[in-house]
């Protein structure tokens, strides 16, 4: 189905300059879109709207609870940050969304078009059914003909309008010399309509107007469910993309879009921010967190002439970076080739529905042709033979089949969405159901990439207080973790003077007349340990190491335990140092692990597992996992992952917790079982109905009953998924 793009501004197509002026006007007419992930109730709606309206310059605000968004109409001088901080103050989490990236879902034309077609075919179906009841219960001669003519007057225009999506898709398939599900559907609808019209003109006994219409109606309903599932997933995926507003700050303070950035420009990266480009540090000293790119949990030192890549996080000091590559050319996009190669292998997966259609479509055509030829030879009556062929085509038509898959996937993805999981790919559920091996990444996936102090009790009390006092002055993640742990242990910081943070090295201060330092091993003349640690030096005393372990992500234990309980093999592949990986593996209960994996090695391991007949689920967040994610049978990434990583994943975890993983595999299994059951039900109905139709006993009443009964049964069967855990 190809949508014709109709431009809202015809002049734009003719003159590109007109487009620019049109866009310029859009921007001035400020309309913010805010994401409000935490709202859920009536009080939230009025609370948010009241707060937004109170802000000066805001003309109107409207909350959409279904999409968890707010649209704001405001004057030019209103800043989005003010609105967000105002909302945060009253307790509503809010983020700016890139209005351009999500505008497409707003005018949801396609969904509305399908709804309209459903309404028309539903209306026509009910009226024709009512008229048909009179025929079924024995109207004859002139009365029957009159009812048939009225039915025709309602049915034919309704079919011409409502069944267009099927005709269009069937025509495209036929032109490419293929058969898809829509070919038998279109043929059945057209033949049923045409044959019934002919019978009506000849004042025959059987007309299939109601069957043609209910076929259209049920199949459109299936289409709509399918469309809705996809559009919900798409709009949430767009929302994730829109959250990353690609802007950079130049050294002179101007903020520009990353698209307008030239090579050689100087970009300022403040502590805590993600490096937006590839480049070389020309000014400043700091530490960089490379965990998203390499999986290392230990920050690395950065100074003048250090080469930095997009996606790294700057930790301590401000840096000025000279751009060597931005946007499309940056290292974030470097793995595109690896990913593209792996993707093609996965696209070969044929879904259950497609496999069914491949068998089904030719079988239906042959069967109905055979019925026609058989009756032709037996009786020589073209009209009668054609009638039977049409009856076979209608009865075998994949009404239940067209509903069987969408109804189940809608129910399953709705349930997973509520559990905090977003399904991006249409066949992901089926693939997830086949999984027998789960590969996890460590940093950022099983762990939050946030350190946790592990040896506080081994540290002499006076050193604790000094370290706490030093750590309180810094925003470095290790300092923050140290301070937090000390605070939790009720330690009082000692009174220090002259506290100075040396970017990229550590913090120093004075306790009375003793110099104290907390920082990197080399800086305090300590022997570096193999794990994440920071070192304290008190005057001339030997340095004391504070060791850290990664903080486990919420739900990681539960997810791994649930997956193991389901009999799946769990593997941990990390780019981090062996000591850190072994520690996490032991804490979480994974026996099979591998450390210091390069991105290509990870992908290779996944490919090896696949070759040995395993179906691998890869869970990862970093750029170093991207190739492995693409190579796996099915892949999941957390919402905190880089955009490039989320793009290749089939599913995205929306919340912080990993706990939905265990549920997801179960839901996927039960969804696939339901799909198979639904196919079996549909086949069962056909098994009874086809011999009847072939024997020439099928009346329009029988066709209507079989069709409605099978459609309703498969829908109810799909809904069973929702109730049972």
């Amino acid at each position: 189905m190809s949508e014709v793009q109709i431009s809202a501004c015809p002049a734009c197509v003719a003159a590109p300059a007109a487009e620019e002026t049109a866009h310029a006007r859009d921007v001035r007419d400020t309309r913010f879109v805010l994401s409000l992930p935490a709202i859920y109730c009536a009080a939230c709606i009025s609370g948010v709207e009241r707060e937004l309206i109170k802000q000066p310059g805001v003309r109107a605000a409207r909350v959409n609870l279904t999409l968890k968004r707010a649209q704001v109409e405001a004057d030019e001088d209103v800043s989005v940050d003010d609105l967000i901080s105002a909302l945060t103050r009253v307790g509503y989490e809010a983020y700016e969304l890139d209005a351009g990236a999500i505008s497409a879902t707003e005018t949801d034309r396609k969904g509305r078009a399908i709804l309209t077609r459903i309404a028309v075919s539903g209306f026509a179906m009910m009226n024709v059914m009512l008229l048909s009841i009179a025929v079924w219960s024995g109207a004859s001669d002139v009365t029957r003909d009159m009812f048939h003519w009225i039915s025709a007057a309602i049915a034919l225009p309704a079919i011409a309008y409502a069944a267009q999506p099927f005709f269009g898709s069937a025509w495209t398939a036929l032109r490419a010399r293929r058969l898809n599900m829509d070919v038998p559907i279109s043929l059945a609808i057209l033949l049923a309509g045409g044959m019934s019209l002919f019978e009506t003109m000849e004042s025959g006994r059987h007309a299939y107007f109601d069957a043609a219409l209910s076929l259209t109606f049920f199949l459109l309903a299936g289409r709509y469910l399918d469309y809705r599932t996809r559009s919900v997933a798409r709009s949430a995926a767009e929302e994730l993309a829109a959250l990353e507003v690609p802007r950079v700050t130049l050294t002179d303070g101007t903020v520009i879009s990353i698209k307008d950035l030239a090579k050689g420009a100087l970009v300022r990266v403040v502590p805590g921010a993600r490096v937006p480009v590839d480049g070389i540090v020309v000014e400043g000293a700091s530490e960089l967190d490379r965990s998203l790119l390499t999986g290392e949990s230990l920050p690395v030192e950065a100074g003048v002439d250090t080469i930095v890549s997009a996606g790294e996080v700057n930790l301590t000091g401000p840096l000025v970076v000279k751009v060597t590559a931005a946007g499309e050319d940056s290292s974030l996009h470097r793995m595109a080739d690896l990913v593209a190669m792996a993707e093609t292998s996965r696209n070969k997966y044929t879904s259950l529905a497609d496999r069914a259609a491949q068998v089904y479509a030719p079988a239906v055509h042959l069967l109905s042709l055979a019925a026609f030829i058989g009756w032709m030879m037996a009786t020589g009556d073209i009209r009668h033979s054609l009638n039977i062929a049409v009856a076979v085509l209608i009865i075998t038509c994949p009404c239940a089949l067209g509903l069987a898959v969408p109804a189940v996937t809608t129910a399953a993805s709705g349930r997973l969405f509520r559990a905090g999981m977003l399904i991006k790919s249409a066949t992901a559920l089926e693939r997830l159901a086949e999984v027998d091996t789960v590969v996890f990444d460590k940093t950022g996936t099983l762990t939050e990439g946030k350190p946790e102090l592990s040896n506080l009790k081994d540290i002499p009390p006076h050193a604790r207080s000094v370290a706490m006092a030093l750590a309180s002055g810094s925003a470095h993640p290790l300092s923050a973790a140290l301070y937090e742990a000390a605070l939790a242990a009720d330690i009082t910081p000692s009174a220090l003077t002259d506290i100075v943070e040396v970017p990229g090295q550590g913090i120093m201060g004075r306790l009375g007349d003793v110099n104290v330092k907390l920082g990197r091993a080399a800086w305090v003349d300590a022997h570096a340990l193999s794990q994440t640690a920071t070192y304290l030096k008190l005057g001339k005393e030997a340095p004391i190491a504070f060791t850290f372990v990664d903080h486990l992500r919420e739900g990681a234990m539960e997810a791994v335990a649930a997956l193991k309980a389901q009999g799946k093999d769990v593997v941990l592949l990390s780019g981090d140092a062996p000591a850190a990986v072994a520690d996490i593996a032991a804490r979480i209960g994974i026996e099979a692990w591998d450390a210091e994996c390069l991105p290509a090695a990870k992908a290779l391991r996944v490919a090896e597992l696949t070759r040995s007949g395993r179906k691998v689920l890869m869970v990862g967040d970093g750029l170093n996992d991207t190739a492995a994610l693409a190579a796996a049978h099915v892949s999941i990434s957390p919402a905190s992952a880089l955009e490039a990583t989320r793009v290749v994943s089939d599913m995205v975890l929306l919340g912080k917790t990993l706990a939905p993983l265990g549920e997801a595999t179960q839901v996927a299994r039960s969804a696939t079982r339901r799909i198979r059951e639904n196919f079996a039900i549909a086949a069962g109905y056909n098994m009874i109905a086809i011999p009847i139709a072939l024997a020439g006993f099928a009346t329009p009443l029988a066709a209507a009953l079989a069709m409605s009964a099978s459609s309703i049964t498969v829908s109810l069967n799909a809904l069973r998924l929702k109730g049972k855990p």
Binding site: N64, L65, T66, T116, F123, N127, L130, M146
Partner: protein, 52 residues
């Protein structure tokens, strides 16, 4: 059976009325935010100055 001459047009007309109502509800964006509308009806606040 002559009554059918009136009854059938009437039934089709009534059905058409329902269809027109449904079209109107689609056009006026009543399916854009079903959760929000379900909750808005419960809010205890009253808009004293509604737009026309």
């Amino acid at each position: 059976m002559n009554v059918l001459v009136y009854l059938i047009p009437i039934s089709i007309f009534l059905g058409g009325l329902g269809l027109a109502g449904f079209f109107w509800s689609i056009r006026s964006r009543q399916y854009d935010d079903p959760d929000g509308d379900a909750n808005r009806i419960l809010t205890g606040e009253y808009d004293d100055h509604p737009k026309e």
